[in-house]
């Protein structure tokens, strides 16, 4: 954010619009043999100028168009998120209980419904998973990360059961993995109730939850057997909507970030609901999504992500330590040596 502000200042100083400014850069790179050394050798690039502006003004102080936020401002949003995620964790547990009951009864259809419920609510935890560590890997781990893949004995969580349910494995074979899953899920409520999330991580989650959905859900990587990528994207949207809602008071008046985010959020929400409606009110599997529907979903998500990416920068908090230069560290090293 500081750097971006610096770049803005440079652009303003050049007296040109942003568009003109970038155009001149493009012209330079198009003729590398002729112009590059003259331009970048003689003066700093605009980005380096922006960096220098940051060097001059870093930690904390003027130079940014926004006063950094006090980290304490994040206490309330994170507390709200903890309460929300505790509710979701409870629902995950309930889903897994129903899953175990259905497996014990040999009812595959009911087991699939319960599995999807548990998966939905786990994804709605969204902001937490980075902070859950090994517990996340045990509950939601993918076989691709394990030696031996799906045959690995460590492949045990939700996706182990997904594979069994959607490939016609006998329900009785899934009773043990489900019991293991239940044991892990039991810890979830306690963990999310006390979870510590630092301000930057929380602000970054506002766009990373859906970045993961783009990379892993819509691409059919995360839940390949059930094909639940679209409903998983909707769950990720729900988690994002909650995080953004908690951050709204902090974003008010900061770079007009919140308004376009909310507009695009609502639009994408509507797009997903529409696709569900077109499929008779049920979430289609990724295979059932038509190319035309896919295009609408991909475009809507991409556009929302572009808006969301402004949030971490707009919510910058005080950076506590300046980053030293190599020259400064050399000087400090020499002084240390002299003192000895």
């Amino acid at each position: 954010m500081l750097a971006a502000a610096g770049l803005g200042a440079v652009v303003a100083a050049c007296g040109g619009s942003k568009e003109n400014h970038y155009l001149s850069i493009g012209t330079v790179s198009a003729h590398p043999d002729i112009a590059v050394t003259e331009v970048t050798g003689g003066s700093h690039s605009p980005q380096v100028e922006a960096m220098l502006a940051e060097e001059r003004t870093r930690n904390p102080g003027p130079g940014s168009d926004l006063e950094p936020l006090a980290p304490s401002r994040f206490e309330r949003p994170v507390a709200e998120y903890r309460a929300y995620s505790e509710g979701e964790a409870k629902q995950v547990e309930a889903g897994v209980d129903r899953l175990r009951a259905a497996l014990a009864a040999g009812d595959v259809a009911a087991a699939k419904r319960a599995w999807l419920d548990a998966y939905d609510h786990y994804l709605r935890l969204g902001a937490a998973y980075g902070a859950l560590g090994a517990l996340d890997e045990a509950i939601d781990g993918n076989p691709g990360r394990l030696p031996g893949g799906t045959r690995s004995p460590q492949f045990t969580g939700l996706h182990r059961i997904e594979m069994g349910l959607w490939t016609g494995e006998a329900p009785s074979k899934l009773i043990a993995p489900a019991a293991y899953l239940a044991a892990k899920v039991k810890h979830l409520q306690t963990v999310v109730r006390t979870i510590q999330i630092d301000p930057l991580t929380y602000a970054t989650r506002a766009h990373e939850i859906l970045e993961d959905a783009q990379r892993d859900m819509l691409s059919d990587v995360d839940a390949p057997w059930s094909g639940a990528g679209l409903r998983a994207t909707f769950d990720s949207l729900a988690a994002t909507e909650f995080v953004v809602r908690t951050l709204r008071p902090l974003l008010n008046g900061r770079d007009s970030t919140i308004e376009p985010v909310e507009t695009e959020e609502a639009r994408f929400h509507q797009t997903l609901e529409q696709v569900r409606k077109e499929n008779g009110g049920e979430w289609p599997t990724l295979e059932q999504v038509t190319p035309e529907q896919h295009a609408r979903v991909d475009g809507g998500l991409g556009s929302l992500l572009e808006r969301l990416s402004a949030i971490p920068g707009a919510l910058e908090t005080v950076r506590t330590r300046p980053v030293p230069t190599i020259a400064e560290q050399k000087r400090a090293d020499r002084q240390g040596a002299d003192a000895e």
């Binding site: 990416s309 980053v323 190599i326 020259a327 560290q329």
Partner: protein, 423 residues
């Protein structure tokens, strides 16, 4: 400088003269500047183009070309599986592969055939093949050393199948292979032509398994030595070891002599290939400060954080707590520059690849990572294990590649790459 390097240098210089082309090579800077002032941009472009096209990198010698050679602008890597019914058919194909590769790297006119016969050459480069700095580097995968051709006892000591690291999502159809051919040259049509021509004599014995086409960024400065940029916009390959120092190459690149290595591996090297998808839309939505902390360098200059020039020593010794360059920054984990990691360094030859869009409309682009090293476990694997949990893993997905062994070059036009393995 090894024999092949001297040879290719001499050939290159000679090749320029033979072609009768006005060339900047070998002329003093003042002369070429004077010439540059006289000629029009069109004349200059023509001169540079001709000089590039006449560049010969050779094929025969001690070490295969395309290893110490700086990464050419364009490359195609193709992995193939051996389907030859017996070892005789296989060696015939390998012999033909070397013979055609030798012709293409030398360039020249191809022989005419009768009018009603299919022509000798596809003709996509015209009637006179320009060598264009073409290198063809041939390597063998671990799977070749199974029972099919009786090679099990001759497997290079450190050659294994590439297994998945924790964040890999390897597609079996894009991983492994019995044979790897790395084709690199100055222009895209040259590498495409070479691929087409090299497949022709080996049909029935070697069947393509996967391919990736790569390109380097143009040389855009700020200095003529600046490393090219990757799809993340950062300079790539800055801390490569010095290829002109035979001592360093003997320690880091060429197979160990004796010990567990079979005799035929002398003057060969292990080649690691990784097709690493880069999620660029996601990356472009990350603040520059965070990007630079993940990489450990400034995006504009390539300088280590807190430094000024790309090739400046990052001096991690002065920064033990990572106050300047975070301890988990990519460049710091990859090459910590500590005495104990000196033997782990690798020779990188990376290209960018671009394969259109994926099913979700996301750019399917990435890094075609190639590394040459003496011992995959001691070097590449040790580095990769340090990188397993680096913050950058969210933005990249290794999807394919493999481990291969590139043997010594063919001695002369009567020899072929791999002859030692079958001797």
């Amino acid at each position: 400088m090894s024999q092949i390097d001297r040879r290719s240098f001499l050939k290159r210089a000679g090749g320029v003269g033979l072609g009768g082309l006005a060339a900047g090579y070998g002329l003093g800077a003042a002369t070429s500047e004077a010439r540059a002032a006289e000629e029009s941009p069109q004349q200059r472009a023509e001169r540079v183009n001709k000089a590039e096209l006449s560049d010969q990198r050779g094929f025969d010698g001690v070490h295969q070309a395309g290893i110490l050679t700086p990464a050419a602008n364009f490359s195609i890597l193709v992995a193939m599986d051996a389907i030859a019914p017996g070892v005789g058919e296989l060696t015939t194909a390998l012999r033909a592969l070397s013979a055609r590769a030798r012709e293409l790297t030398q360039g020249g006119a191809y022989p005419p055939r009768e009018y009603d016969d299919p022509p000798y050459d596809s003709g996509t480069l015209g009637t006179d093949i320009a060598p264009d700095g073409l290198t063809v580097t041939i390597a063998f995968g671990a799977s070749l050393f199974d029972g099919r051709y009786g090679l099990a006892s001759r497997r290079p000591a450190h050659l294994t199948e590439m297994t998945a690291f924790p964040h890999d999502q390897l597609d079996p159809a894009r991983t492994g292979g019995d044979l790897l051919v790395q084709i690199a040259a100055g222009h895209r049509d040259t590498v495409e032509h070479a691929l087409r021509e090299l497949l022709k004599p080996v049909r029935g014995s070697l069947q393509p398994r996967w391919t990736v086409a790569g390109a380097t960024g143009a040389q855009r400065g700020p200095s003529p030595h600046s490393s090219r940029r990757n799809h993340f916009g950062f300079h790539d390959g800055t801390s490569n070891p010095d290829v002109t120092d035979p001592k360093v190459m003997n320690r880091l690149v060429w197979a160990e002599r004796g010990g567990a290595e079979p005799a035929w591996t002398v003057d060969g090297t292990y080649q690691v290939v990784r097709a690493i998808r880069m999620h660029v839309e996601f990356w472009d939505r990350v603040g520059l400060h965070e990007q630079e902390e993940m990489i450990g360098r400034k995006r504009d200059t390539g300088a280590p954080l807190g430094g000024e020039g790309e090739f400046e020593n990052p001096r991690y010794d002065l920064d033990p707590k990572g106050e300047r360059v975070p301890l988990e920054a990519h460049v710091r984990l990859a090459n910590p520059r500590e005495p104990k990691t000196i033997d782990q360094r690798i020779l990188r030859r990376a290209w960018n690849y671009s394969e259109g869009f994926d099913a979700d409309g996301q750019l399917n682009v990435g890094l075609l990572f190639v590394a040459f090293n003496q011992d995959i476990q001691r070097q590449f694997t040790a580095i990769q294990e340090r990188l397993n949990e680096e913050p950058m893993v969210d933005y990249v997905t290794p999807e394919g590649g493999g481990y291969f062994f590139a043997p010594r070059a063919a001695r002369d036009s009567g020899d072929w790459v791999g002859s030692g393995l079958f001797a």
